[in-house]
Structure formats: structure tokens, C-alpha cells
């Protein structure tokens, strides 16, 4: 049984739950979803992986840094202490990983521009390539952020033309698109497979 912590600060949580359930069925890896709203939720859940969904990063920063939640500072510390913890951040989640604003480095060795691909009228769907999954992938970009610079070119895991749309550092991946809205559950499966390895190392 893999426990996936789903960050519930705001945003498209339900589609991540659906994608995780499908990935669980496909891979045969049993999943328990732990909803994270506060730092207490994080400390009491013993999670093997984390998903930070898409939504509005400005809202998530406020709700997650408020004294009533405290989830963001706790989660950032937890991720830095456990670099092998599998993490999937999509869109706004990728922004929080790239620009954590805790006075330390980017968690994914990359900087990002919020709404770098424009407003909703510029939102787009297209086929991209994922080096991590070694196949083409349906890219769904909604008011998407844009990776602007990366520390290590080996960290690129998804591209669209010359644009970098996915990066990885340790076991954390950040995507500027929305795999949870597509029918391909490859990234969620990757997360579950890494979580198995991670939980076995801990055990």
C-alpha cells in the first residue's frame, strides 16, 4: 500500500485522484490518498509520495503559508530532508517547486515564469515528447507557466519543440502541463513505481 499525499490548498485535486486511481489499477499498486491541508496532516500521514496539483499558485501560497495551515513550510522542509521522496508538481504545483520562496534553492533546479504561455485564450493542447516515459504524450497547457532556465540539461524530462515542459531533480518532477487531464496516466504510474522503491528503502 502506497500512501500519496495530495496537497489540498486549492486547485484541481479531483482529477489527480481519478488519475491516481486509474494508475493504481493499471499498475496493480494499491494506493491510499492522504489529503494534506495542514502541517499536522503531513506529520500524521507517513506519505510515500506527494502530488501538488494545478490551480492558482498565489492562492496556494496564501492558504499554505497561513498560520492555520502551515503546510507549505512543513512540506518544503520535508522534501528537502528527503530528496528521494517522489513528488509530482503540475502547473501551479511546478511553480511552487521551482520558486519555493523559503530562502533556499529551487527544488527542481529550474526557474519558471508564471503564465509564461499567456492567458486562457492562449491555452493549448498539443503532442509533446516525454523522455521520462520515452514516448509522445498529450500536452494540455492551461494558462501554463514556462521553464526559463535549468541548472542541468540532463534534468529535462519533457519537451515541446525546443521548449522545456518537464524537469526532474532527484525524484521530484515538475510539469508545466496537466497530465491529470489526459487519458495517459504514465506520470502517475511513474510516481507510484518510485514510491514503492522509496518506501522499501525506508523500511
Amino acid at each position: 500500500m502506497i500512501r500519496v499525499g495530495l496537497v489540498m490548498l486549492q486547485g484541481a485535486r479531483n482529477v489527480h485522484i481519478e488519475a491516481l486511481e486509474k494508475a493504481s489499477k493499471e499498475s496493480g499498486i494499491e494506493v491510499e490518498i492522504k489529503k494534506l491541508r495542514t502541517s499536522n496532516d503531513l506529520f500524521s500521514s507517513k506519505i510515500d509520495a506527494v502530488i501538488i496539483p494545478g490551480g492558482e499558485s498565489t492562492t496556494m501560497r496564501l492558504t499554505g503559508n497561513s498560520s492555520k495551515s502551515g503546510l507549505i513550510p512543513s512540506l518544503l522542509r520535508f522534501m528537502r530532508q528527503n530528496p528521494q521522496l517522489p513528488v509530482l508538481g503540475t502547473c501551479a504545483g511546478a511553480i511552487l517547486l521551482a520558486d519555493p520562496r523559503d530562502g533556499k534553492n529551487s527544488l527542481i533546479g529550474s526557474s519558471i515564469i508564471r503564465n509564461g504561455y499567456g492567458r486562457q485564450n492562449e491555452s493549448f493542447q498539443t503532442e509533446i515528447y516525454s523522455k521520462l516515459l520515452m514516448r509522445n504524450y498529450p500536452g494540455i497547457f492551461i494558462r501554463a507557466p514556462k521553464f526559463s532556465s535549468i541548472e542541468d540539461s540532463n534534468s529535462v524530462i519533457a519537451t515541446f519543440g525546443k521548449d522545456i515542459v518537464g524537469v526532474r531533480k532527484f525524484n521530484r518532477i515538475a510539469l508545466s502541463f496537466h497530465p491529470e487531464l489526459s487519458h495517459d496516466n504514465g506520470f502517475h504510474r511513474w510516481l507510484l513505481e518510485q514510491a514503492i522503491i522509496y518506501s522499501e528503502i525506508l523500511a
Partner: protein, 329 residues
């Protein structure tokens, strides 16, 4: 904005992108704002989007007369100020206004009963647009009609500008109870429900001298439209909820109101007059965001309520001259 890529490979304005945009709003508060300063306050308080309009609903109600789309300069000023999505309202059935709002680059159009309806028979054919739409509903049938027309998001109407949450609860209960009841229906019962839903598209008949029903609608032939309604109806039955993100609106004035609607299973809330007609808008905005996020924790909702000063003054629905919730088809 996109660089280094072949633009011809890109698909824009698909149903997935429109409904997907709405999903990003889940768990959030969307606030009515009338200028750039209020938009900034909304963003700083944690709003997921702002609704740009010239007057909040309680002022529209007090002023009377015809309420139209806001001035483009005012909408552009808000777009230029805030980094969160900007929505704006068009009149029901007013394609002229909707096309202007789309060209201004708003992120979502609210085809809203708070403005004076422009078309007495039909709403806007929303599938023809790149920009996603949110529409109001008072019951399941109205929601299914709007989604079949292409709405990417639904908000229960409530009664805007009253600070009275009773209509919001009524509409939320109606939608969920109607879904529950119909989920166990036979094929014949489902067919009868679809027939009933289709009646909402037949308003022209009531005023026609010849009692005619149009075979062509802004959404295609009546037959195509029925097929779309059946598709949405089946989606509802399968998912046991509306197949698009569903917010509550119309009368939410306090953190407790927001928490109540979230407990009813709403995906988020619109707050119109409730924030900027309260005596301390910043505190009210902060408190409603806090309560919406922690709606399951009564202690935190209580603390949010403590943050509040005087909420907006409220109105009894029965005494209203105009019920906005009755607008639309």
C-alpha cells in the same frame, strides 16, 4: 507568447481546455471587483479569480434600469493589474457583448442573470467561442441546458446582491436532489426528464401568434440540441454530479455562508457584494478565503468569523422587486 514551436500543431478553445480551466478554480473564492485596487486586494487575499464589473449586484439592484456589460477600459485596467484570471459578465444571449469580452482577453465569460437579459428566448451558443463560459442555474434542467450549450462551469444562481444565502441553498439542494432522484430512473423516466429539459428551449412558442416552435436554434437544429442534452444528461447520471466544476453564488456574505455551501458539496464560491459592501473588505475577503479552505474545521471557521466586522446588510427574497434568479431559460 509561444516560442520555438509550430503554431499549427496547437489546438485552442477545446472543451477539455475550457472545462480544464474551470477545474483549476476548485476550492477557491471568486470575488466581484469594480476597479484595479479592489482586484489587487482580492488577489492579495487569495481569490482564485476576479469578476470585473462596473457595479456590484447590490448596487445594480439599487440603481435599477438596464444593466449591461462593463466598459472595456475598466476590464482592461483590471486585466493589466492582476495576475490571477479575470472574468467578466455579458448579458444573457448577448453575442455582441460576449465577442467583445473574448477579444479583450478575459479568461472566462459569465453569461449572467445579474445583467438585464438581451435575448428573451436563447442563451449564447458557447461552443462557438474560444473563451470558456460560466452560467447560472437554479435546478438540474437549467444546468444541463447550459452545459449542452457549451458552458464549461456552472454556478448555482442564488439571489445576487441580497446578502441572503437562502436561494443559494435552495438551488444547491435542488440540483443535488434532482440528480440523486434521476440516477435510479428507468429508461422511460430518463427520456421524460430529457423531454422536460428540452421545454426550456421552447420559450418562443409562448409568444408566437402561430404557436410555432423553431426547428433551428442558435445551437443547431432542435434535434442536434436534444442529442447534446442527452449526452450531458448521461454524463450527469454516470458521474452522479454535474460534469463541470460547480460553484455557489448569490447571497454569500459571511465565512459561515461560504463554509455552509462548501459542505453542500460545492466546488467553490463566488462572492459578489459581500466583500466590498462589508465595513472591512480586506478582513472579509481574508476571512471568506480562510473559511472556504478550512470549511471542514469548525474551529477555524469560527476564527474566520471572529475576523469579520459588520457584514453587508441583507434583504428578504420575498420583498424583492426583481428576482435575478428567475432570469434565463
Amino acid at each position: 507568447m509561444v516560442t520555438n514551436v509550430d503554431m499549427s500543431q496547437l489546438l485552442h478553445g477545446t472543451e477539455l481546455l475550457k472545462r480544464g480551466f474551470a477545474k483549476m478554480q476548485e476550492g477557491g473564492v471568486i470575488m466581484d471587483v469594480v476597479n484595479a485596487e479592489q482586484a489587487q486586494l482580492a488577489e492579495d487575499s487569495g481569490a482564485v479569480a476576479v469578476m470585473a464589473l462596473e457595479r456590484v449586484p447590490s448596487d445594480i439592484r439599487a440603481d435599477g434600469g438596464v444593466a449591461r456589460m462593463s466598459h472595456p477600459n475598466m476590464i482592461m485596467e483590471i486585466i493589466d493589474t492582476t495576475s490571477i484570471p479575470v472574468m467578466a459578465k455579458s448579458r444573457i444571449g448577448h453575442e455582441g457583448e460576449a465577442r467583445i469580452l473574448e477579444s479583450l482577453g478575459v479568461d472566462m465569460i459569465d453569461e449572467s442573470e445579474v445583467l438585464t437579459p438581451a435575448d428573451p428566448f436563447f442563451h449564447i451558443p458557447k461552443k462557438d467561442y474560444n473563451v470558456p463560459f460560466v452560467c447560472g442555474c437554479t435546478n438540474l434542467g437549467e444546468a444541463v441546458r447550459r452545459i449542452a450549450e457549451g458552458a464549461a462551469m456552472i454556478r448555482t444562481k442564488g439571489e445576487a446582491g441580497t446578502g441572503n444565502v437562502v436561494s443559494a441553498i435552495q438551488h444547491s439542494r435542488l440540483v443535488s436532489n434532482e440528480i440523486n432522484a434521476l440516477c435510479n430512473s428507468t429508461a422511460d423516466e430518463a427520456n421524460a426528464a430529457v423531454d422536460k429539459i428540452m421545454e426550456g428551449f421552447q420559450k418562443l412558442k409562448d409568444v408566437s401568434e402561430f404557436n410555432i416552435n423553431p426547428s433551428i436554434t442558435p445551437f443547431g437544429t432542435m434535434e442536434d440540441l436534444r442529442n447534446d442534452v442527452v449526452d450531458v444528461f448521461n454524463e450527469v447520471m454516470k458521474q452522479k454530479r454535474l460534469p463541470v466544476v460547480t460553484f455557489s453564488a448569490g447571497g454569500i456574505a459571511t465565512p459561515a455562508d461560504a463554509a455552509l455551501l462548501m459542505k453542500h458539496g460545492m466546488d467553490g464560491v463566488f462572492v459578489g457584494s459581500g466583500i466590498f459592501k462589508s465595513n472591512n473588505p480586506k478582513m472579509t475577503a481574508d476571512a471568506i478565503v480562510l473559511a472556504t479552505h478550512h470549511y471542514q474545521d469548525a474551529k477555524i471557521v469560527a476564527e474566520a468569523s471572529e475576523m469579520m466586522g459588520e457584514p453587508m446588510p441583507g434583504l428578504e427574497i420575498g420583498n424583492l422587486e426583481t428576482r435575478y434568479q428567475d432570469r434565463g431559460y
